[in-house]
């Protein structure tokens, strides 16, 4: 009976832990098809404009190899800390003038605007045309601190066993002092703690205490 119960708890915990780490869905959006031919100007003219146009929207444009005329830049989503946009501007000299192509890619939904919008603005910056402001990149949200009553983020200690501590994270994960993980959810002042099973607890009005059958915890804040 005890073994059965333990295995059930284990299975439930395993499913919850697996679910809690599912990554957000995302897809690559690519825009090609913008090409411009200039009857005048040299490769270096094209390169100068390519670098300037890229850096209007993405930081640190670099040439793939010096003198190649192939320029490239990436943008980062500050909130996720990962690259979410990129663009290439490639110049090739002709007998008279040059040809330049624009290709952009973004990762959706991490990036707040699509690849075509980015490429069109870069191209218009390069050879002239209407510029449409791109949506602002999201900024990092500071972690809530203190004893907020809207979340459980922070360190908690068991009132019954001071050695038992929990670290509750922004994404709803929790980890105890031995590395065992679980989850937390808050709805009003009702908290569901998934840790060796589901436990329904109440958060005190000051956000400092969690109490219910089996667990009484105090937040360090």
């Amino acid at each position: 009976m005890n073994v059965k119960r333990g295995l059930s708890l284990f299975a439930a915990a395993l499913v919850l832990v697996s679910l809690s780490h599912d990554p957000a869905s995302a897809a690559v959006d690519l825009s090609a098809g913008i090409r411009h031919v200039s009857d005048t100007g040299s490769l270096s003219d094209c390169s100068g404009k390519a670098k300037a146009a890229l850096e209007t929207y993405l930081p640190g444009a670099t040439e793939s190899s010096p003198g190649s005329g192939e320029w490239f830049a990436m943008g980062q989503n500050i909130a996720t800390g990962a690259a979410s946009s990129g663009a290439t501007v490639r110049c090739y000299p002709l007998a008279k003038g040059y040809v330049v192509t624009f290709v952009c890619a973004v990762q959706l939904p991490a990036n707040p605007y699509g690849a075509y919008a980015l490429c069109l603005d870069i191209a218009h910056k390069f050879y002239g045309g209407p510029i449409t402001p791109l949506a602002a990149m999201p900024t990092a949200t500071p972690l809530p601190t203190g004893c907020a009553t809207t979340n459980l983020i922070g360190s908690w200690v068991s009132d019954n066993d001071p050695k038992l501590t929990f670290n509750m994270q922004l994404n709803g994960d929790l980890t105890d002092n031995q590395g065992v993980s679980g989850n937390w959810i808050i709805d009003g002042s009702t908290v569901t703690l998934t840790y060796y099973g589901n436990h329904t607890l109440k958060l005190s009005p000051d956000g400092k205490h969690l109490s219910g059958p089996g667990y009484n915890l105090t937040r360090r804040c």
């Binding site: 697996s18 690559v28 690519l30 040809v99 590395g179």
Partner: protein
């Protein structure tokens, strides 16, 4: 005996949860982009480039399309998966020169979950293009 069983099960459960929890933690998906090869192929019409571009994109990715019709600008996406949509894409640009053509490759991938980096994707495309252009 009962106490030992309970403790063993709890330890087993805890250990496995931690182990599986760690294994399933993933790095955030990042966009990877590659400025692939650019080359001039002499003594060939741009139509040869278009044929090879379509063939290469269709074999490495899927549903290659020429943008705008007869532009020489081709793109294709990886087969979408139910969770993410397409996680890789590429463009091949064919441009006619006097008695020759210029071809460029540009690739993007979302890593993870794409198994190919953008560089690997562009290498595959260039190889497939060369095979199709012969």
């Amino acid at each position: 005996m009962t106490r030992i069983s309970r403790r063993r099960v709890a330890l087993l459960a805890g250990g496995l949860v931690v182990a599986f929890g760690s294994l399933s933690t993933r790095a955030p998906a990042a966009l990877d982009m590659n400025v692939g090869a650019a080359k001039v192929v002499q003594s060939q019409p741009v139509s040869a480039c278009n044929n090879a571009a379509k063939s290469a994109l269709s074999s490495v990715l899927q549903n290659a399309v020429e943008l705008g019709g007869d532009t020489g600008e081709w793109e294709a996406f990886a087969a979408p998966d139910s969770a993410n949509g397409s996680t890789a894409a590429a463009a091949i640009d064919c441009y006619p020169l006097a008695g020759a053509y210029l071809v460029t490759f540009t690739c993007a991938a979302q890593v993870p979950p794409s198994v190919d980096s953008a560089t690997a994707l562009c290498t595959k495309l260039a190889t497939a293009f060369d095979a199709g252009a012969r």
